[in-house]
């Protein structure tokens, strides 16, 4: 428990520094007022709105004000939407998390069988084919994959809907788009990991006892080669959410990625802060969970 407590305590300074950095970046990047007013607004109009929003205060006053409110659970109000920023984020969070989890499932679903296959057929045509495919998968930008998938599987052969998030069919193309790069990376990792485990003495022993090959692979090799895979899932999950920004735009997916994009374009400080905060929190939680899964998978790992 000591480990958990220490990790949780470390979160607080990290988040504080994070809010400061994000606040400073958005502050420097632009001024929301000029984008909120109609085009024929005058300098006087801008001054009036700036004052009404409290944006004429110096940086440190604005930041402390923001921080004070945040500690009380108030993440500020979006200039664009005129609604509490946190509410805007939480109502879209489920869509992004669902997409990310689906993409993760796609990645696992593709990479584990392919990785094991490549390892077992090491240095054969199959192995080269799998390695080749994963290089290509990693190299393709996901917005391009998305547009191509729409073109082929929604326009030329209308099997799936083009965009939106209304039914389970709508999940297929975005999940594949987001999951492909991760699948490619994980395939190579699974392959390497299986190759390493397969050389271990306990696997040789199992084989020499005359156990069936499927049991050797399924019981001894598979589980033990999962540890690095779990690591990469933990590391990649925040990146998956980052990738969701692009994929959500291509597929009109109503998640936080698109909200973030618009918020940055319009210098909507409160929303940017709230999203970065939530993503940071998710990252921290996922990392903790990864650590715990480690322990379950490999009882030799101890935390002190």
């Amino acid at each position: 428990m000591g480990y958990l407590k220490r990790s949780l305590l470390q979160i607080i300074p990290s988040l504080l520094i994070l809010t400061l950095i994000v606040f400073a970046l958005v502050y420097v990047a632009g001024d929301p007022v000029s984008q909120m007013l109609p085009e024929n607004a005058t300098a006087e109009d801008r001054a009036i709105l700036t004052e009404a929003l409290g944006l004429d205060e110096p940086f440190h006053i604005q930041y402390l004000q923001y921080l004070g409110d945040m500690i009380r659970g108030d993440f500020g109000t979006s200039y664009q939407y005129q609604e509490p920023a946190l509410e805007l984020v939480t109502e879209r969070l489920a869509a992004t998390l669902t997409l990310s989890l689906m993409a993760l499932s796609v990645a696992i679903f593709i990479s584990i069988p392919l990785g094991i296959l490549a390892a077992l057929k090491r240095n054969t045509v199959i192995d080269f084919l799998v390695s080749g495919i994963s290089v290509v998968g990693k190299a393709m930008p996901n917005f391009w994959i998305g547009i191509m998938l729409i073109l082929f599987f929604a326009v030329m052969f209308p099997i799936f809907p083009v965009s939106g998030a209304d039914s389970p069919l709508h999940f297929v193309l975005p999940s594949i788009t987001l999951g492909v790069a991760l699948a490619a990376e994980m395939t190579r990792l699974v392959r390497a990991s299986v190759l390493e485990v397969i050389e271990q003495e306990y696997v040789q022993t199992a084989r020499s006892k005359g156990q069936m090959e499927s049991i050797v692979i399924g019981k001894h090799v598979f589980l033990n080669s999962l540890i690095p895979v779990v690591t990469i899932i933990g590391l990649q999950f925040p990146q998956l959410i980052g990738g969701a920004i692009v994929v959500e735009t291509v597929f009109s997916w109503p998640g936080i990625g698109r909200l973030l994009l618009t918020a940055i374009e319009t210098s909507d400080m409160a929303v940017v802060q709230a999203i970065v905060f939530v993503i940071a929190l998710i990252t921290i939680v996922v990392n903790l969970v990864t650590d715990i899964i480690y322990r379950v998978l490999d009882p030799r790992i101890k935390y002190n």
Binding site: A43, V250, S252
Partner: protein, 508 residues
């Protein structure tokens, strides 16, 4: 073997998903009655609406949706003419007072009767609350007097020749006073009501807004049962939705897809001029290369407007030498649909002005217009003007523009929400280009308060002629809105880029 089982699992999963019959919310059930075709219309916009509050919005894609829910006293028709909405008649009582007679027997979507009190409440709300984005448009209004239940007087602080323009913008929407004050702004906009042809049904954030027919609309029975404004940010996805009949209208399609949409069976492209004029602002501040009128003239003559229109916009724009294009008050049509291009003369002018080694100009541009700006740079280079482009991301661009922190040339696209010559005030004293001309100041000052329309139009036309001569800004062209449209409907886009859904009908 492993690969085989993997494939079979994939196949089974896909089959399972397809087998589950999920009802598509885009297709309302029409069981038991014959479909008329007017069940549902879907319009795809690149951006979601930002708010349901018409007084706190300055984004056209949001206004384009809200105009179907709320009415105003007066409105503009497709060509820009002011026509009645909730007001049947209006007249000027004196220079600061306008009287409006209101429609009787109008109800809001919640059943409340519409009266003069609602007009007073709505206009005074936007005119007095400085936190509202449209406050700047209505600050001229001093107060609104209720004469009787169906007559109001709008009183301005100073004579305001633009009052009718202001009152016909979507931001002058009328809200129900009693209901609004009873529930408060937050609750009101959770479930807003207006007097428009369609009433609010749902807003799925970043997905779609759904409006449904309001049977008691005071003008006539609205045509469509349900209206969806879908949000499809990615251009190519919006086009794909159109090609697969997912949407009826797709706004802002890329020029590269125009041919594909026209050639596809069942869709076509509709073009219409919009208020946005692409222009190059040139600094006249001392020390700037462009402070020399000869350099500004050479820049104007070096640019072949039509080539940019034909090559980049595939014809979807009209060359202009003024910002006040037809359909706007005070337009000088002699400066529209024309441009100056004479590279040889440009070279001569530069030589006569003593620029033997050429001229260097820096131009700021935001990410929307980079491609056009690059072509302009090439054209300037032909006559010996070396232009360097500074590409600035949009949110920073707006900020730096108003802080006058951009290069001597600023490449922008600018609209005109008020449909009025007063947009020329962009180049009034202390403007971004430092342009200063006493005659222009005097004309603009007078026009701002001149209640004589004829005189006022002449004043703006004179300013346009002076600008064409002195060139604090080189106007290039007026853009056209590009819409992909399903052949099943008949849709003519509007100058103001708003969708009045009831103007859209099924094709014959």
């Amino acid at each position: 073997m492993k690969k085989l089982s993997f494939l079979s699992i994939l196949l089974i999963t896909v089959l399972l998903i397809s087998a589950c019959s999920f009802s598509d919310p885009d297709e309302p059930s029409t069981e038991g009655e014959e479909a008329s075709g007017y069940e549902l219309i879907t319009v795809a916009n690149p951006a979601d609406i930002t708010t349901l509050d018409p007084h706190n919005n300055s984004v056209i894609t949001t206004s384009a949706v809200l105009v179907n829910m709320y009415s105003k006293l007066i409105q503009r028709d497709a060509s820009g003419e002011i026509i009645p909405d909730l007001a049947t008649n209006w007249e000027k009582v004196d220079d600061v007072t306008w009287e409006f007679e209101l429609e009787e027997d109008v109800t809001f979507h919640n059943g409340d009767a519409f009266t003069a009190e609602d007009v007073k409440f709505s206009l005074e709300r936007v005119a007095t609350d400085t936190t509202l984005q449209q406050n700047s448009t209505f600050r001229e209004i001093d107060h609104v007097e209720v004469v009787d239940e169906h007559t109001v007087r709008v009183v301005t602080g100073e004579p305001d020749p633009q009052l009718l323009s202001r009152l016909s913008t979507p931001a002058a929407s009328i809200l129900p006073a009693n209901h609004f004050e009873e529930v408060g702004a937050d609750e009101f906009f959770d479930n807003p009501v207006g007097t428009g042809p369609y009433q609010f049904s749902a807003w799925e954030r970043d997905d779609h807004v759904e409006l449904v027919k309001y049977e008691d609309y005071f003008v006539e029975e609205p045509k469509w049962e349900t209206v969806h404004f879908a949000v499809v940010p990615e251009d190519s996805t919006r086009v794909s939705e159109l090609l697969t009949d997912g949407v009826d209208v797709a706004f802002n399609i890329p020029t590269a897809d125009m041919e594909r949409i026209d050639e596809n069976e069942g869709t076509h492209v509709a073009l219409a001029p919009i208020q946005r004029v692409i222009q190059l602002w040139l600094s006249t501040e001392e020390g700037a290369t462009t402070a020399d009128p000869a350099v500004r003239e050479a820049i104007d003559l070096a640019i072949d407007n039509q080539v940019i229109i034909d090559e980049i916009l595939l014809g979807s724009a009209t060359a202009t030498r003024t910002h006040v294009t037809p359909g706007n008050f005070g337009a000088d049509e002699s400066l529209y649909d024309t441009y100056l291009y004479d590279p040889e003369r440009a070279k001569e002018i530069l030589a006569e002005a003593g620029y033997k080694d050429g001229v260097t100009v820096e131009i700021s541009v935001n990410n929307y217009y980079t491609e056009m700006a690059e072509v302009v740079v090439g054209m300037l280079d032909e006559v010996g003007i070396t232009a360097d482009i500074e590409l600035i991301e949009q949110s920073q661009f707006a900020d730096r523009l108003f802080n006058e922190d951009l290069d001597e040339g600023v490449f922008v696209g600018w609209g005109n929400d008020m449909f009025d010559g007063s947009i020329l005030e962009l180049f009034k004293e202390d403007n971004v280009t430092s342009y200063s001309n006493e005659e222009v100041e005097a004309l603009l000052d007078e026009a701002a308060y001149n209640m004589n329309e004829e005189e006022r139009a002449a004043q703006y036309q004179e300013v346009q002629q002076i600008f064409a001569e002195e060139r604090p800004v080189v106007y290039l062209f007026q853009l056209e809105g590009r819409y992909g449209v399903n052949d099943r409907i008949d849709y003519t886009p509007r100058l103001d880029e708003l969708y009045y859904v009831d103007e859209i009908t099924l094709s014959e």
